[in-house]
Amino acid sequence: MLQWTTLSLELGLLALALVLFVLDLTRVSRRLITLLAGLGTFALFLFSFTVPSTGTFTQAFILDPFALFLKRIFLLAALLTLMGASTYARVRNYTARMGEFILLVLLATLGAMALVSARDFLTFFVAFELLSLPIYALAAIEKGNPLAPEGALKVFLFGSLSSVALFLGIGLLYAATGTTFWTRIHTVLFPVLFQLGVVLLLVGIGFKIAMFPFYMWVPDTYEAAPTPVVAFLSVAPKAAGIGVLFRLYFEFFSRWQGDLTAWITVLAAVTMIAGNLMALPQKNLKRLLAYSGVAHIGYVLTAVAAGSRFSAAMALFYFVAYLFSNMGAFLAVAALETQGVEPTLEGSRNLIRRSPLLAAAFLVFLLSLGGIPFVLGFWGKLYVFLAAGKAGLWGLVFLGALLAVIALYYYLNVARWMFIVEEGEGSLHIPGSLLAAVGIAAVVVFAGGLVPQWLVVPAVHAVMGF
């Protein structure tokens, strides 16, 4: 019996993407299409609360509360991206390509949604590529920008290499076990191939989530790509990668967990260190946020290393916080760029005078990313470290806390530049939907910090299935 309701969200998103693509070929205005895309994504987000939260579609695809929670994160990420991009595209003169833009964003979201539901390596690989391919094209959507091909080629080449590694890993796991279904593995015939396959799998996912040492493409691509795309790129693939890592952990790696914990502990530690230290000297806001994103993946990997159900829940919660703070920060940078301001520390000078609202929102995001009490990001860090502590990884917790203090320097440095007041510069008028997206994110980050239990409790419920 095939439970088609299991696929309802994915099918709905696919239908939305294709309908909008066809509409784009007609004379319907781009604004209307963008509006429909936003409304459709939001409708799917609301719809996700009504779908039955458990079910399998063959053995390859599972819908459980964990996957559903992540799917909501992806839908919100797509929604914020579309809101930001509609304005950004107008200012940067690529409104004519908004149709493709929407199709690509929605398809990448579809890939992410399928990825966290995959339970079989074929589904996993196809979903992984569906998430990757649109992003290569999206990175170069702003064709006139001389940096565009460079950023896109970098993410493309590293991404392709990661695909090869992933596919080879899948091949080795297939050779070692004789099946591609995670749940059907009874015996591992060749342990060496199995271990090598797992390592290659980690390499493939590591590129996607920008884990050390596979993060080299991140700052360059982030600097060159359109900022709303970067906002999407900095959240959706990372959440998908971590989500699939947790699913692999609980359903597939279980026979190998002991060794893996040690590995991921080390990777989490180096990723945190590398991200935070590299972020320190950055002058470009997008590069700074890129490295800060690497550091955040280090914190989330701490939860992966803990490998308990509680830590999975806290990673989910962390991603909600990260979704709004990080996307908010990138969208605030996008808002600066639409006003012809360079996305650098220098450029954010005097922001408090030029646009007090944007400065306040940006400050909230930075405080949240830095983990200052009591905004959303603080609770995210606290709970992730708590989960790691419960699992006995106190060294990692100590390192993370230390690095979080160092991280405050570069976050607050941006804030310092914003508060340098000078006379004589005109105020900024941030246009429509971009301001709305920044505002929504800021309100969620601020209000969520006051009542974090509203998000923590659903996250805990979401992992009950494991």
């Binding site: 460079e150 493309f156 360059d220």
Partner: protein
């Protein structure tokens, strides 16, 4: 022809591809290297499936793999054309200006 022979060919293909990816600077050559690595992996999976007595799942995996590779190369060629038009060069070293 036995499994080890096939796997040796697959390994050779992957190694040549990896070498090309690291050594060549022209975008097309790099794309070809990636393609070569993918084909090596495809061959390896197919030969393993063959050794498992014609297990169908391996062949299905490879079919999907081929389709995805084609899509990937299509995107890569589009980026190649874009690079040539916007930057007037297709050598990776000349394309690389971002750092820090």
């Amino acid at each position: 022809m036995t499994l080890p022979h096939l796997l040796q060919v697959a390994f050779a293909l992957i190694s040549i591809g990896l070498f090309g990816l690291l050594a060549r600077r022209h975008v097309i050559a790099v794309l070809l290297s990636i393609e070569l690595m993918f084909n090596g992996v495809n061959l390896a999976i197919l030969s393993v499936a063959w050794a498992y007595g014609g297990e169908p799942r391996g062949a299905v995996l490879v079919l999907f793999g081929i389709a995805i590779t084609v899509a990937e190369v299509a995107v890569g060629l589009a980026l190649f054309l874009l690079a040539r038009r916007v930057r007037g060069t297709v050598v990776l070293d000349d394309l690389s200006t971002l750092s820090g």
